[in-house]
């Protein structure tokens, strides 16, 4: 598996060793840099209810060049399309980014995503924190302006997402109904906590590919 980590946080990325130990096959890490700041500014999500792209303002392109992208959300499908064209995707290939990504759903709204899967995949580390729904307490505290801690084990979710893409790439296997299985499509932080490992069926399929020790 090839894993690209966006170069802006390559030096601070904490999960190289954990991911290497998790997969029993070889994982190659490389830094990745998006080369087109105009395109990144163009594919920003502007309105949660509309999938519309606009000619960017000069400051948006300039901010992309300078990495001033806090609070910016990107259309995950377009970002993945760009990435998939830019790298060799003949083997499972994933980009781990710190950008927020969202996809436009059938309900006519954008939703923040932890991962967008296609011929390759993009995983958003910030998405792991922000995308899953939190317990009510979190939103109540936020509504009063308090920074409530997000209770998510990022390393665990990262491994889950990487395995989900691997399962899709190798076997076109999409998600598992078992709430305890790593391939379960979790939408809330509480669902993530319930994941313990692999269900029996998926243990048979992927038991040789991953090392589940210490997953919690």
């Amino acid at each position: 598996m090839k894993i690209y980590v966006e170069d802006s946080f390559w030096d601070s990325f904490l999960f190289f060793e954990g991911i290497r130990k998790f997969f029993r096959f070889s994982v190659e890490f490389n830094p990745y840099k998006f080369k087109d700041p105009y395109f990144l500014a163009y594919i920003r999500v502007r309105n949660p209810n509309k999938r519309e792209f606009y000619e960017p303002f000069p400051v948006e392109v300039e901010n992309e060049k300078r990495g001033l992208i806090k609070g910016v959300i990107y259309d995950g499908v377009e970002l993945l399309r760009y990435f998939s064209r830019d790298v060799d995707i003949s083997e499972p290939t994933v980009l781990i980014t710190n950008r927020l990504i969202a996809t436009f759903g059938e309900d006519g709204r954008y939703h923040l995503r932890m991962i967008v899967i296609g011929p390759a995949a993009i995983i958003s580390l910030k998405g792991i924190l922000y995308a899953p729904a939190k317990p009510l307490q979190y939103y109540m505290m936020h509504s009063f302006g308090f920074d409530e801690k997000i209770d998510v084990k990022v390393d665990k979710v990262l491994k889950m997402l990487l395995l989900q893409f691997y399962a899709y790439f190798k076997h076109e296997e999409i998600f598992c109904e078992s709430e305890e299985c790593m391939l379960h499509n979790c939408h809330t932080t509480e669902e993530i906590k319930k994941v313990k490992g692999l269900c029996e069926r998926h243990r048979k399929m992927f038991g040789d590919s991953v090392n589940l020790r210490g997953l919690s």
């Binding site: 999500v45 502007r46 303002f57 609070g71 936020h142 509504s143 308090f146």
Partner: protein, 262 residues
């Protein structure tokens, strides 16, 4: 019994109001910068620009200045800012306390009145109860605003055929909050396309507002929540640091632009 207050006639009081107001209005028919909106970002930008020696006029549709800076969330009059925006409170002389690491709380009335006071002390002039009506465009550039008394809008049209007046400036700053009235007026004219602010919540939306505070059309700078509307940034919660720092950034951008015009 001795009189406490000096003796003046009614007409003297009226003359004092009329003379001084109209001499101010006359002087400010042309400014370096007109800021539309006297909320925290507009006031901060105004104060910084006036401190830098610029002639600044702020237009505010309400009688009171300060916008939403008087109260925090849920009508509670405590305002919160995140680091490093407490430095702005420090500059203003507003007492505050650290509630949790990086989160500071101050009394809304104290913070807001100090900010208004600082803007006035710096030399900013205000036209309150004055609503933005339109932009002045000259040579493809925003060159001022058209304004009218706020009550004119509230009365039936048939009894209020009151024409507005135009005020000129080298730069206009839109600090009208989510409404982004000035930017929207340019959109009506087909000169700009605003994106509309998002409803998705992310903690970093305050940073995004500061980073995107900029000139969006020649002569027009956006600041505060108007930035969210123009750029389609996510909504923010009831913290004000982003507004204060966006106001500072707007002033920096305006000073750069004014320098280019010299």
């Amino acid at each position: 019994m001795a009189k406490i207050l000096a003796k003046v006639s009614e007409k003297d009081v009226t003359s004092a109001i009329v003379d001084t107001f109209y001499s101010m209005l006359r002087e400010y028919t042309e400014s370096d910068v007109i800021i539309v909106g006297a909320g925290p970002s507009g006031l901060t930008a105004a104060k910084e620009l006036a401190k830098a020696g610029k002639k600044v006029l702020v237009i505010e549709r309400n009688n009171y200045l300060g916008g939403g800076f008087w109260i925090g969330g849920f009508l509670m009059n405590k305002i919160t800012v995140r680091a490093p925006a407490q430095e702005v409170l420090e500059e203003l002389g507003v007492p505050y306390e650290e509630y949790t690491e990086g989160l500071y709380v101050a009394d809304g009335p104290h913070a807001c009145s100090k900010l208004i006071g600082a803007a006035c002390d710096a030399g900013v002039k205000f036209l309150n109860m004055t609503s933005f009506d339109d932009v002045v465009i000259r040579d493809g550039k925003v060159a001022g605003v058209v304004v009218n008394w706020t009550p004119v809008q509230a009365l039936p049209r048939q009894i209020t055929c009151v024409d507005p007046i135009a005020l000129e400036s080298k730069i206009v700053i839109d600090a009208t909050g989510h409404d982004a009235f000035v930017a929207k007026k340019l959109e009506e004219k087909g000169l700009l396309k605003t994106r509309g602010h998002g409803s998705m919540w992310v903690e970093e939306s305050e940073d995004a507002v500061i980073n995107h505070t900029s000139e969006v059309y020649p002569g027009l700078i956006v600041t505060g929540m108007a930035v969210s509307t123009v750029f389609g940034l996510p909504r923010m919660g009831p913290t004000f640091g982003g507004m204060l720092l966006s106001g500072k950034r707007a002033a920096e951008v305006a000073l750069e632009k004014l320098k280019e015009l010299e």
